[in-house]
Amino acid sequence: MISLPGLNLTSAPPELLSDPQSTLTRTQDLSANTEYRFEVAFTRSLTIRLLSGTAEFFGTELAPSSAYTFQGTKGAIYTWHGCRLEIVGEAESEYTAEETQMMSYANAHFALESLREKSLHTGDIGPRVLVVGTENAGKTSVVKILTSYAVKFGRQPVIVNLDPRQGMLSVPGSFSAAAFSSIVDIEDGWGSSPISGPSPVPVKMPLVYHYGLANPEEGKLFRPLVTRMALAVTSRLEEDRASRQAGFIIDTPGAISQGKAGVYENIEHIISEFSVNVLFVLGSERLYSDLTRKYSNRIPEESVSVIRLDKSGGCVHRDETYMKQFRQAQIRAYFFGQAGDNALGPNSQMVDFDDLSIFKIIEASSEHNSSFRPGGGGDDDDAYSSGIEIYEKVTPSSMIQNSLLAITTASVNDGQEVIRDSSVRGYIYVADVDDLKKKVKLLSPQPGHTPPNAMVLGSFPEDIPGLVG
């Protein structure tokens, strides 16, 4: 393998449109308990500064007079006490909302705090929370608010993301878990995983697995990975007192809340693997009543409090175009960091075909799908782990150009289940494939040697043409 650090790598960021209009500065006064909702395109930016009062962005407080720049963001600045904001830039849409759900989300936090106080005395694990709800019901936003508030209370909750459509501290297509002991980044989603230099907001230390598909309802990977992650998180909580006491919060994709005839296999699987005891249902009345019925009459040790939270009026539908841009921005940020001072320099390298051991996820056909036993009871993962073909080994070809490979911690000779269950070291991007010379040009997050481990290729996230400009 040759390393080519001087390859003049620049990411190809979406061109920023700048017109004189967009630099207009305005002030926005918010009265107590209202929020300023905005949508900014990926090609624009909106800078918000807190001039007076207090304000928070999904629970994280804005520092007085610091400028926060948003790009490709839909969100809201909420104030408990009233505030004055200075806003520079152009929003696709913006308005002030008087009616919000923040009080109920704060109540949810305070209720969890009561449980944390108890666990301080008993030594048991704190609240084990699962958040479900249909697409765009505001699940991720609620998880963020609960996280920020917990951190503000000096807690150190573990946050688990099981939604492949949107990565947490990693790229889309991944599942991850991280303990939050420092503030959630305001501009940068959940924040950043470790980088080799200083970071203005403390980095978070995620454990990352690769799922590689868009939909949790297909394929053979979702449930075994949930089982594996539950194991890792539970083990962590054995050792880590602060996190143990704070418990964990799991974010999920909307798809698992769809259900089939009132049965929600994946939700049930998560609840049983993680021993969830608090279930927040966002929005959907139907989902709430189905789940209440299922979990209301359980023995005390296994009881699950099912609580419905209203959907915020601010939640917006995000169409596929937006989601795709969102994913590309996440992947770009993985390699190149955030534009400006926090830019990262990935490394380009040429490798031989032989250097790569790529395991491609076999997409489940509809018949494969039926191999999930209906009615759940997926407590033992043996049922779907032994002897099933999960991957096919592929040699590099133009087919894999522009795709993302997950570098697992498994060796190339490991069994397929081992590869499936292993966490990932990181991702590399296939920038170019030369079929004739049998060479592949890779983009790696860091210089040096790419670990010679098994690499997994999934169908998700989709190809990202032109990541390297």
Binding site: S3, S31, A32, L51, S52, T54, E61, A63, P64, S65, S66, T79, W80, G82, C83, R84, M103, A106, N107, F110, A111, E113, S114, L115, E117, L120, Y149, K152, F153, G154, S181, P194, I195, S196, G197, P198, S199, P202, V203, K204, M205, P206, L207, S235, R236, E239, D240, S243, Q245, S305, R308, D341, A343, L344, N347, S423, R425, G448, H449, P451
Partner: protein, 685 residues
Amino acid sequence: MSSHSAEVAADFKDALQDLKLNSRPEISNLTIIAKENTEHAQAISRELETHIRTTRPEWKLPALYVLDSIVKNVGTPYTVYLGRDLYRTFMDAYVIMDSGTRKAMEGLLKTWKQPVPESMDARPVFQPEVTRDIENALIKFRTVAVQQQALSQRPGMQQNMPARPMPNVPWGNTPTPPQNVPRFAAPNDPRVRQPFPPAQNYGQYPSTGTPPVQYPAVQPSPQPVSSLDLEQLKTDLAKLIATTKDNFASNPSNVSTQAQLKALLGLETILRTQTLLPQQLEQIRNQIQLSSRPTAPTPAFAPPVSAPAPVIPSPQPQPLPNFPPALAQLLANTRPPVPPSSTPVPASLSLADMLRTVTTPSQSSSAPPSMPSFYSHPFAPVPPPVSTPVLVPVPAPAPAPAPNMATPTANLAQLLARFNPPAPTPASSQPVPLPQFLAQLPPAPPAHGSAEWLLNALKGFGTSGTPVNSTPVASEPMTRQASAPKLQNEVELTTASMKMPRLHLISRLYEAIPNICVTCGRRFESTPQGREKKARHMDWHFKVKDPDAAKRGIHRSWYISEKEWVEYQEVDETSPDQVSNGAPGAAAVVKKATKDKYVSVPDIALGRAPCPICQEEFKDHWLVEENDFVWMDAVKVNGRIYHATCWEEYSKGAGIATPSTPDSVLGKRKAEVSTPASGKKVRAY
């Protein structure tokens, strides 16, 4: 600001970033930039002010020397731009300095009141109004400091003040360099400024052993109070104490009487042990008179929901109020930042608390605590101005653990702070915002000598690591807020319960953790531990603010493995082992123990070769100080990496020198950075 102006300012800023010592060539260089770009004077001045405000305490003085050099060598328009906010620029820095640096600053100020030496212009460097305001503030500041010192009974306190001494900076010998650059002389300029002689002492102040600065006797307030009879005051106080004692004796279970008595005794101690300003005496007298009157159980008015209109930064300092509003009124309008029901009384009551206690009618202890917390805003909210005052019963004085009379250090200044509210508006018509929070209001430069300013000054003490308060710190609770009262089952975990408004709980997210970091918004408790944490947190901010980082090619690291993650201990940037113990800049190099040596994980050229001696693989560890993965117990010798311990063993007989760990991104700070206690677990910020 034109884009060119921004460019020039950015260049200037870059050059400033490198200024860490009182370095003649650098100061001279910066002065030249300023001289050659007078059309961008505004932007440059802004940059300089910002730098002085935000840079580390020990780098502020060199930057002030730049300011000094520019105003003396270039003059207008810099004197105009820098003069506007000089009060704030100077005082913000002054309050966090150690006494040596303060002296140096006082020396600077002295020269600003005079014409530039050997200049034909007889006018002082800065307009007299500008320097006078600062001088007034200094007098007040010193009074407070002296009193604090007296109160704290800790003679060494000055030396323990926040700002770090700069033993390495030889300012005695390096005043702002004389500018001998010929082109500085613009012969046609009537205000031609000749280089001032180096004899003009900057740092070597006091050079003659005479008392520091001969300050004109400027009264902070023109109000004549000499008529006040201190002895009479003491007598009145003694009477009041006697009556209160009687009350207490007849009803020993009355907590509020007890607290009142303690507060009075505290006042008495202060009167006995300190020299107070006439104003203060006046206020105390009023207070005593008020307290001597029989009080009825009247509920007081909390400040109206709306706080004052946003304070617009004003370049003109506001005039001092002639008559401070009655203390009682101020106190009545000032609520503690946290709801009385939710916060334990701090171990040492502040004087303000004492005074409040004194005035609180004992009957009010039965007043039901409602939800005042929500209405005491952490910041002054702007819109909408609600004109209806909200009636809130006076919170009962919390059943106080005995206030520690020996350490009401912050108190007097708090009391003092209330003497000079920001504007001379009568307190009855204008609610007084919580000064603690106002002090954080970024766009409002505290008016000179105002309450905010003094509180800011006090904050400076707290944030810089030396808790003013010497209350013993209880052993660290596991969570940052373990001291907060329990929520118990206040919020039931049911769908219906989620919908109930509980605005009073929101104070847990704000007022209960009042000390905000203006850089990132993280909050800290106003306890000694909270202040320590904040100090370490601020240190962390400085540590990661690395202007050269972008140039060095930072990259994303690999994720840690499952096993490492399970064993991983989060490291809070506010925990003690994140911070160096030594003074920055100190040259003492601590020799690392062999096993604490490490190297960065090598790149491809070396591969992941095992230790050539024992053939064992190295493991990647996340090292917080480097913000990178490293191999612990490792040294690089001739391009190969060995276990440091293996190498030491091997090289013992051979007499080969062991290389030291390469310089880190943190440069010389590295030397004092503590090495991780255990190489076992990876760590991160």
